[in-house]
Structures are given as C-alpha cells and as structure tokens.
C-alpha cells in the first residue's frame, strides 16, 4: 500500500529544537527498511508559482493567494504493509513533533475507467449496501 506523507508546519506544534531534529536518522532507517519510495523537502511558499487556466487564458501568479500558517514543507511516498506501519513511520519523523504529518493513501489512476465515474459508482454501491435490509433473526 502506498501513501503520500505530507510533512507540514503547524503553529500549534512543539517549538523546533535543532539538536532534537533527527531527520538524518529517520531517512537512514526508512531507506534501510525499503519503505520510502521517494521524498524531498520543498522550497518555501515564497518560491511557489500558481498556474491556472480561466476562460481559456493561462494565468501565472506568484505563490498562493493568502499567507497560510500551515504549509507543506516536504513529502515522502511510503510503500508500507498497511496503515499501522505508515503511522509508526510517520510518528517517528521529527516533524510529527515540530509540525504535523498527513497520510493520504494513493489512489492509482485506472486507465480503463474514468476516476470520477468510478468514485460515483463506488459511492452508489456503498449506499446500496448501507440501505440493505438486516437479518431477520436475532432482532
């Protein structure tokens, strides 16, 4: 199972202490275990570029619209047995203390089927399941 691990800042996190930043150990450990597919830090938002197309016109602007207090500082793609392993790895990342980490399962693009159509179908199937009648016994 693959997860995108977003490493984000968080104004409510514990203050950063340089001596306790053990990111080197973390990277060495996850690489030795072979659970990290790829990962990088990201340059700050000041270096970001926003790209949109509106009414057929390409709009390029500097950075995000607002100064957000939480921004993504880096990411790692993890390949884990399951969510518990991903949680264990994320929990030992120094930014779990100095910031926060969000784990998002990858949603592989199925070339056979449009992803939006698939989500609509899955939601409908799940709704049908939720509505189905319960067993008559034991009620």
């Amino acid at each position: 199972m693959r997860y995108m691990m977003f490493v984000a800042t968080d104004p409510e996190a514990e203050p950063f202490v340089a001596e306790e930043d053990d990111i080197g150990d973390w990277v060495a450990d996850v690489d030795a275990r072979g659970v990290r597919v790829f990962g990088e830090r990201l340059r700050p938002v000041q270096d970001a570029t926003l790209v949109r197309v509106r009414g057929g016109e390409l709009l390029v602007t500097d950075g995000p619209f607002t100064e957000s207090k939480e921004w993504i500082a880096g990411f790692d793609v993890l390949d884990c047995r399951d969510l518990d392993e991903a949680i264990e790895i994320a929990g030992r990342h120094p930014m779990a203390r100095f910031g926060r980490i969000e784990l998002r399962p990858l949603w592989p693009l199925d070339v056979e089927e449009d992803p939006t159509a698939r989500e609509v179908r899955e939601v409908r199937e799940d709704d049908d399941r939720g509505r189905r009648s319960e067993p008559a016994v034991g009620a």
Binding site: D127, G130, E134, P135, A136, V137, G138
Partner: protein, 430 residues
C-alpha cells in the same frame, strides 16, 4: 401417532437456538469471514444470510450439533458464491481456496476450534481492534463496534444515538470504505502498541455505556439497552485478553453501574438519587460479579488505571448496605487518586461532594467556591446542585434555595430538572 404440538415446539426451539447463536456466534462468524475474504461487506452480508438460512432450516431440519460451525460453513459458501459471481475478484477467491488447503482442506469449520488452533489470536480480537482504530472518526468506531462486533442492526443503532437511519448507514459505509482505501489492517496490535490501542477499545465501550446511561436518565425510551451492550462487549474483550487489568476494571465499573438501573428510576420514570435508592432493587448478581472482578485483579498503586479507580468508587457504594454506611472517606481517597491520574474539574466537583458527605461541609463548600471562581465548569447544573445541597446541610436555607433555582434553570434533562424541583420543594417545606 404424531404429537400436534411437536412441530410448534421444534419451531420454538429452533427460534431460541438461532437467537442464542446470533448472540454468541455473530462476532465469531463475521470475524472469520472478514479474515477469509478481506471484504467487510461480503463478510457481513454472507453472515447475515447464514443466519437467515438458519432461521428457515433449523425449524424443519433440527438444530445442528455445532451451530457456530454450521453458520461459518454456510456463510463461507455464500461469500465464495458472491466473490465468484463478481468474476473480477477471482484472485481473492483463489487466495481463499489456497488458505483452505493450507489448513488441510478438511480443516474444522468450528470457529472456536479454529481460534484455538490459530496462530496467535482469535479473529474476534482483530475485529475489536480494527473497529476501534484511531484513524476512524470516534462516532464511526462506536457504530462499527456495535454493528460488526455486537451484531446490532443499523436501525437499532441509529435509534439509540438519535440519528436518522440513513445517517447511521452512511457512517458505517464511510468507515468501511476508509478501512479498505487506507488499508487499516485487520490484526491485533503489536505488544508495544497494545496498551494504547486497548485504551482506545475501552474508550469506545465507555462511550457506548455513557450513551446508554444518558438515555436511561433522559426523556428517551429505548428498546435497546446500550449499557447491557457495553457489558457484553467488555465481557468479550476480557475473555479475549484475560490479562488486561484495565479491561477487567472497566467491566467491573460497567456492571456496578448497571446493577443500579432498576433502582435509579421510580414508577413514574423519575430519577432516584443514590442515597434514596431501594438497595434491594439493585441487581445483586451484577454487583457480586463486579466486586469479584475487582477482587481478582491486582491493584499496584503505582500503575493503577483510571477505570480501576472509578470501579473502586462504585464498589464502595455497592458494599454499603444503606446509604448511611457509605465510607465517604475511602471515596475521597479514590478521587484523590483519580485527580492525580487524570485531572478534571468534574472529578474535583465529585471529590468536593465526597468531602461534604464525609462530614466536612465547610471544606467542601470552599472547594466548590474555588471551582466556581476558576470558571472551568462554566454554568454547570451539577456545580449549582452540589452547592445547594451543601448549603442546605449547613442550614443556609435561603442560599440553598437560590442555588437550587440556578441548577433547575441549567439542568439539561426533564428528569434531572424535576428531581431538583423536588429538592427545592422539600427545602421550602422543611
């Protein structure tokens, strides 16, 4: 000669057997099916289907010698049919067949035997931990535990939590979808994760209990006794993890609280406080079981858990034959322990009340004044009610009446409001 009542008796016996199997075997069968298929919906549907078949066939064919094994076999075959018909999931079916072969083909279908022979854990324990996984929203953990482990139907759970059935169904669907999409594992946590994750499981059971307790003291009439469900689930966790002291303590706490259910409400549905309850109406079997659980659980003061402390407080009440015999000094001691373990203004309030009942009303009032000044409880009706009660005991009738009126204004449920009104009326009369 045929006995005309024999058929009716067989049908009644079969209905009893199905109901009993539902209570005893649902979690086992569904837990085994989830492991075998990896698909919560297929497992749940196939298990429900097996019970429907049992209801039809046991009446005419007789109750099987081992109902659990019968149900598991029928549910497995049903799940296999569904997965085969889907076609796309042949890989899963093949895996499953391989697993069956690993266990020797002729392996037992009796889930109890399978569990005993299993590598480490009963499947039901995997189920309990997955349902209470911290990555699921808390309301979903509670709903999923009641639905999948408890075997309650969605409509029942919805009614108990006062939400529309469609909302509850959606909550369950979303939880199962997240288990699948985020790959929440179906396993018992490792030894180092276990204490924390067990705490999460117990918190879910406590929430089920609290909801049931609230329902029984509010204006809600329910068919489903959530407090009983919480006890049933706690019993299962204790059976599966017999060395987990906090699980035993929680079960004791739930039993000791539930034992008072019948005495807590009078014939008119009005609330009866602990000191006025008819103690002969307590459920003495539950009291005895709760006390025995505590007696058989070691209590190392250094590592004593919060459920243990709460259970010990209930045990002091349970051991007192009359309200007057309650050892309030012991209760104060337990509240001190509880405050040290997990500080909370509600616990401080309760400790102050205990001080008052132990005889020191001046200290109690001072503590409550400090609590009120701190603003931590805001405008809580229990704070006003406790102050009113202590003022009454100190003979400050007018001050007491004013605080009772505040408490009545703030009380959230009808029965609580009416109880406080009766206290106020008694004050005016006295």
């Amino acid at each position: 000669m045929t006995d005309p009542t024999a058929g009716a008796r067989a049908a009644a016996d079969a209905a009893d057997a199905v109901a009993r199997a539902y209570r005893d075997e649902w979690a086992r069968v569904v837990a085994t099916l989830i492991r075998a298929t990896g698909d919560w919906d297929v497992a749940e549907d196939a298990t429900a289907d097996a019970f429907e078949r049992a209801a039809r066939r046991w009446a005419t064919e007789g109750v099987p010698r081992n109902p659990g094994a019968w149900l598991t076999t029928v549910a497995k075959n049903r799940a296999l049919d569904v997965l085969r018909r889907r076609g796309v999931e042949t890989g899963k079916v093949r895996e499953w067949m391989a697993m069956d072969e690993l266990t020797g083909g002729g392996a037992s279908d009796d889930p109890a035997e399978l569990a005993a022979a299993g590598p480490e854990w009963d499947d039901r324990l995997r189920l309990v931990f997955t349902c209470a996984h911290p990555a699921l929203p808390i309301e979903a953990r509670v709903a999923l535990t009641l639905r999948t482990v408890g075997g309650l139907d969605t409509a029942e759970i919805a009614r108990a939590f006062l939400v529309p059935e469609a909302t509850m169904a959606q909550r369950l669907v979303r939880a199962k979808r997240k288990i699948r999409h985020a790959a929440i594992p179906y396993r018992v946590p490792s030894a180092d994760e276990l204490p924390e994750r067990l705490g999460g499981v117990l918190a879910v059971l406590m929430l089920v209990h609290n909801e049931g307790y609230l329902a029984s003291s509010g204006d809600r009439l329910l068919r489903l006794d959530l407090q009983e469900e919480a006890i049933r689930l706690a019993r299962l966790v204790v059976e599966l993890l017999p060395d987990a002291d906090e699980a035993r303590a929680l079960m004791a706490l739930l039993l000791l609280q539930h034992a008072r259910s019948a005495a807590r409400v009078d014939g008119e549905g009005e609330l009866v406080p602990l000191d006025e309850q008819d103690r002969s109406r307590w459920n003495h079997a539950e009291v005895a079981e709760g006390l025995a659980l505590l007696a058989n659980t070691p209590s190392d003061p250094g590592t004593i858990g919060t459920y243990r402390v709460q259970a010990e407080i209930q045990a002091v009440h349970a051991r007192a034959r009359t309200a007057g015999e309650t050892d309030w000094t012991e209760i104060v001691g337990w509240y001190d322990a509880l405050l040290a373990a997990s500080p909370s203004p509600v616990v401080e309030l309760n400790r102050a009340v205990a001080h008052g009942l132990a005889g020191d009303t001046t200290l109690a009032l001072a503590e409550l004044d400090r609590l009120e000044a701190s603003g931590q409880l805001g405008d809580h009706h229990l704070l006003a009610a406790a102050q009113a009660d202590l003022l009454r005991r100190n003979g400050r009738t007018e001050d007491a009446a004013a605080r009772y009126r505040d408490a009545i204004r703030l009380a959230p449920t009808g029965p609580e409001r009416r109880f406080l009104e009766r206290r106020l009326a008694a004050l005016d009369a006295g």
